[in-house]
Amino acid sequence: MTARLVRTACSLLAVVLTAACTSYYEIPIETPIRPKLDVSAFQRVLIAGFIAGGSEDVDANLETVRLLRSQLRTKSELRVIDADVLPLMDVAAEEHSVATNGDSLNGQEPQLPSVIKEEKDLEPYEHIFANIEYWKRIGEEYQSPLIVTGTVMFTPHARSGFVQREQEVYDSFGRRRVVPIRTYMERKGFILKPKFIFIDGRTGTTLHSETFREEILYNANQTTPALSSYFELMDRLIPSFLSTLSSQKIKGTRVLLK
């Protein structure tokens, strides 16, 4: 019994001594992170416009252009070009009708959906992003900038099922405890799924593309305006978007040792 006590005391002492003997200093650091895309060849950026769909309450094309332009103005060294938002759906539709002109006589050509309600409706429009000549022309018009375009789906979404949440409970002695409770809930909200495509305005070719997905759900009885939800979701993915174009600093803490 005494031997065991001595052993325990010795090991405790060793732990205390090790901790005491290790001299360390916590220090804040800021790690600079390189952008995903090398944009050193560009001085200007054109947020051209997006093929957007989903909720009718938000013009996802216009709002995304506005938001990205304002973010890039303050958080990027590139000069943001102020220009009218390109009517990409009309351009794609026109291009499509020209391309299918030969087949139109038999009336069999697939039609572009006039309203984009779901993701599959976007597909027939996506050929516009591969049209090198079109983007090269846009690039020439705006002095060879980096062009940002893509698709944005902002769709209402509802989901019901069991949700785990925490609940405070007090036992017979008045002690507070937090316990997980599973409850069945009906929730509704939105899904935001943008695909950002970065095009070289000098050549019209795609340099990089990235797809994001963010989702938000509220209690079914809660009324949240669609535009608020849109901004809340965009807020989550803006840092990732910016990290494609400009370097960022990540703050953290490290330990220096003696």
């Binding site: 220090i27 650091i29 390189r34 090398d38 003696k258």
Partner: protein
């Protein structure tokens, strides 16, 4: 007189030879401590110089490699930071503080594009 000259020469040899035989760890430790004090004042380049000297003086000094890795990380030189962390861990595989730094570093490094664009 002749004995005095011999003794004086012997004393001189000892005085010169003393610093040459100094413990490399204690010299390296001075560099590490100075590096910490300048890093705390934001002089990271000077800190890197000190910690690099410390690793040259004593290549088995894990703390010097750890600090060097932190400084490289702060300067955005992530490749060098990784090499220095790995060396520190190789020297002291059970040091929880070095491992903690390395884990935090890896989190950032994994989010960073490599120089070759991959």
């Amino acid at each position: 007189m002749r004995i005095c000259t011999v003794l004086a020469a012997f004393a001189l040899i000892l005085a010169v030879a003393g610093p040459l035989e100094a413990d490399p760890r204690s010299d390296a430790k001075k560099q590490v401590e100075f590096g910490i004090s300048v890093a705390q004042r934001g002089l990271w380049r000077e800190a890197i110089y000190r910690w690099e000297r410390a690793t040259q003086m004593d290549p088995t000094y894990a703390a010097a490699y750890n600090n060097l890795a932190v400084a490289y990380e702060h300067e955005g030189d992530l490749d060098k930071a990784r090499t220095a962390y790995e060396k520190a861990i190789e020297l002291e595989p059970d040091n929880a503080l070095i491992k903690q730094n390395y884990d935090l570093f890896k989190e950032i490094n994994d989010r960073t594009p490599r120089k070759d664009g991959l």
